[in-house]
Subunit: 176 residues, 2 copies
DNA sequence: TCTAAAATCATGCTAAAGTATGAAGGAAAC
DNA sequence: GTTTCCTTCATACTTTAGCATGATTTTAGA
């Protein structure tokens, strides 16, 4: 998994390495054919050039890779679902994103903003795309109540619209 | 278009190829010049080793640096101020949230849904919490145009509201 | 060059969202 | 026992969002 990933990511480098090797061989062959210079010397030089190029590449990658590895946090995983229907093989690949596994609720932020339990509930349903009416139905309260809640949420989050509220709440890890 | 794209993408490789060719010519010349000198060989080999090592490092860094850049994108969230009055020590903590580093745009999904470039743009601004009016101003088009776009987006995404559209688009990796 | 898709804009309308204000019951804090 | 905050609900109003429909202009592909 990691090796293939490495190969894939550094494809250009390997392509270069291989192509330069091929080119060197070609040049060697041409030299051999026309007997211009001493072969042993040329092969020696070529080998050194190639080896030290690869050494340089290896060195650079070895020294720079750790940086990348420490920063990468794998968040998304794709799950593919295939549906086969009778004779006609309809393959529908629906791709979902798994929920962020390393989500930690930012309770400190909630407290700082002064958001109540109920407001968080409303916020969560908002983020799932429910209308105020639907949220009210789910929480068994009236539309007006949800409007009041959402209004208070906007004030506390210092935003103007629900879309902004959701964006900010997610950014602050108040909701998933 | 494709050829230029290839050239552009592998620019570093071609630059490297050309420069190494030039270097080889230079070394060739040096070889002829110092053929008589005793320690020419050692110097020659050493120079080649050094130069090709450096070139290898340069090549590797050139090709791997962009990956590093895309990984460490950070977004400012808020500034937390803790003020201690007794000792008059003011501590400022800046807290950031990392943007998802391994986001890959799901172009297959975009194509399947038939979303146009402009619609994606509108979708992105929507996800940032902008109103239709504001989106229109940012894209230099009228409110009505954005309404048309957003309507088309909802149909294509099979949703009823903008909040749902944003939620689904994020889930499908159509937007960040 | 012709054509289909994309992008633009408009009007009229309905639905939903958001604002402002007030009020009342209940629980926890002081 | 009063105060404070949370939750609930209401009314009235403004703004924004969304729907349906039609039309024009660009743009890009066959």
């Amino acid at each position: 998994m990691q090796k293939t990933g490495f190969l894939h990511k550094n494809k250009a480098i390997f392509i270069y390495g291989i192509s330069s090797a091929v080119l060197l061989l070609l040049l060697k062959w041409l030299e051999w054919r026309f007997m211009i210079v001493d072969h042993a010397m040329e092969i020696y030089i070529g080998a050194i050039a190639l080896i030290f190029t690869l050494l340089g590449i290896w060195l650079a990658l070895k020294l720079s890779t750790p940086k990348v590895n420490t920063v990468i946090v794998e968040k998304e995983v794709f799950v593919e679902k295939e549906i086969y229907l009778e004779k006609e093989i309809i393959v529908e690949k629906e791709i979902y994103i798994k929920e962020n596994p390393d989500f930690t609720l930012n309770e400190k932020e909630i407290e700082k903003l002064g958001l109540s339990k109920r407001e968080i509930e409303v916020l969560e349903l908002m983020s799932e795309g429910f209308s105020n009416q639907e949220i009210g139905e789910r929480l068994f309260v009236s539309l007006n109540t949800i409007k009041t809640h959402s209004g208070n949420i906007f004030v506390k989050l210092d935003v103007k619209r629900r879309t902004q509220a959701v964006e900010k709440a997610k950014r602050l890890s108040i909701i998933r």
